[in-house]
Symmetry: C2
Subunit: 354 residues, 2 copies
Amino acid sequence: MPRHLIFSYLSLIIAAAAMREGNFRMREGAPFKIALFADLHFGEDAWTEWGPIQDFNSMGVMSIVLDDEQPDFVVYLGDVITANNIMIANASLYWDQALSPTRARGIPWSTIFGNHDDAPFEWPLDWFSQAGIPQLSCARGSDCSFRGTTRLELMRNEIERNSLSFSTDGPRNLWPSVSNYVLKLSSTSNARDPVALMYFLDSGGGSYPEIISNAQVKWFQEKSREINPHSRVPEIIFWHIPSKAYEKVAIGVQCVGSIFWESVAAQEAEMGMMKALEKRDSVKAVFVGHNHGLDWCCPHRKMWLCFARHTGYGGYGNWARGARVLEIKQQPFSLRSWIRMEDGSTHSEVILSS
Amino acid sequence: MPRHLIFSYLSLIIAAAAMREGNFRMREGAPFKIALFADLHFGEDAWTEWGPIQDFNSMGVMSIVLDDEQPDFVVYLGDVITANNIMIANASLYWDQALSPTRARGIPWSTIFGNHDDAPFEWPLDWFSQAGIPQLSCARGSDCSFRGTTRLELMRNEIERNSLSFSTDGPRNLWPSVSNYVLKLSSTSNARDPVALMYFLDSGGGSYPEIISNAQVKWFQEKSREINPHSRVPEIIFWHIPSKAYEKVAIGVQCVGSIFWESVAAQEAEMGMMKALEKRDSVKAVFVGHNHGLDWCCPHRKMWLCFARHTGYGGYGNWARGARVLEIKQQPFSLRSWIRMEDGSTHSEVILSS
């Protein structure tokens, strides 16, 4: 093998290893920008004409946000697909389609699960009437049970096929909850000098209850104690379904956002995650999706509880589509956020680090 | 191969072929007796001590009924297992356990599906609390998704392993509805002289809606026209979830039964099955399970709508367990039914052929 090829190969291995450890570096003289793509719902009504058109439109929203904002990183904030509408064996095809605008631009990303991503197929009642089963008829398919693609399968397919993916399938002892991991953002000059820690958690739903388990709470406590023992590094949290604390802050006068028309659809129970977060001054904000008709950030104790913005044309609601953007600056640390809309406008800017 | 072995082998092939065609012969000088085992719910709370004890008790009920009544045939009337409680990859293990008392006595049987048989596993909320996931921990298992065993898998496993099974997986064009087939009871003297036709239908639930589809209605109409064109042969129908017609007859003064404490939990919609049955004078009775607290037979037009009796210790309700028994006589044809209880008593005798 020629020397320059060996060198390239080694560089790739080193880069891949650094990525697998979940480390990013700030770019010289630039803030770190993250776009949140929430509730894309690819594959919705996959058997109609309407469904694929929605996915095409969602690709458009993502493309506009990526081109306008040029983010350094993308977080897919759950409900990437509407698995309960997908009647093919491998839902990863839709999952992969949702990732493609980010991948095409060479931007790294990570994903977390929502309540629709591994849901089993729901047979529409109408298919049992005289109308019958459309298109992908059960009689012609090799398997007509459509039990869905599991979280593990979706995640492993994503990771294996994408060098830009920073997702991991989390510690085994947290399964069936899968998307639990930490990513570290380091300063430009020193990889060991962390600027921020990003915790990704699986808030359940689909194949199991909508919940963050006690085991996940323990994992967060141990992990944060290990990598940020003195709470010196700012911490940012991502999961899909709002916790019950969101219900309490929703009517606060300090909330910043543009749509407030829904009730918070919270997790089924609270197993201690919010208490664990509240104890750490380093936790600056939590970001969730799930409610398509809410896009606010409200203060809660010393942190902020934020919704993303409905990015996908799939899923309920006709509120205009967009994406929440986060901007991280170092020395001094700041976390700023706004919402970028499909029409190119921005709104709801808020400082989350004060 | 010795001659007597060749003969035995050929006899077996001929017998198996006759069975696969779904033909029975009345025994000389004896009525044909069928026991209905409804809602056994094997595998319920499989991770507790309580669960396996219920299954043991259900084996006891079946054994008593089989020994007391000595039926010629058994119908497993759906909800054989509680799949939403089964956290192993192959639920056929529980299905097979439920069949074993009948198999052990050399009695042939057939099965139909209920709404619990192919349901996906439902993770108890409590498992996400500090208590954690018991026994078969997700961390130790090879797959923690528990998407359930499909109707097709359950049925094919049953058929492949059991020469006494008269079940079939039905026409492909009726899938995801699987347990749709006909069995013919012939006179002692002539296999071509039918005494009764037994139609088995899948009333859905679990992985798809609780419904008998329009496609199944058409299948019944075509099948009955083909094998019983002049409605001369009495017809008996079996499925799991009561149709909406059951709701209307439930308060009739002519009803015969011992427990009437529940509302009928009917199918989600009516796609024409009841109308198809009502048009045929040959249809004598429909038998369903599903409601554990109902065991009546009520007249409806020219036929009877009957509940079985809750046979299993699994499933809701603490009404005493038992099994509905059917007795078919030829020349003249008669269909008589009663309920045999676990304590050996019988009650609710009714003539369904008048």
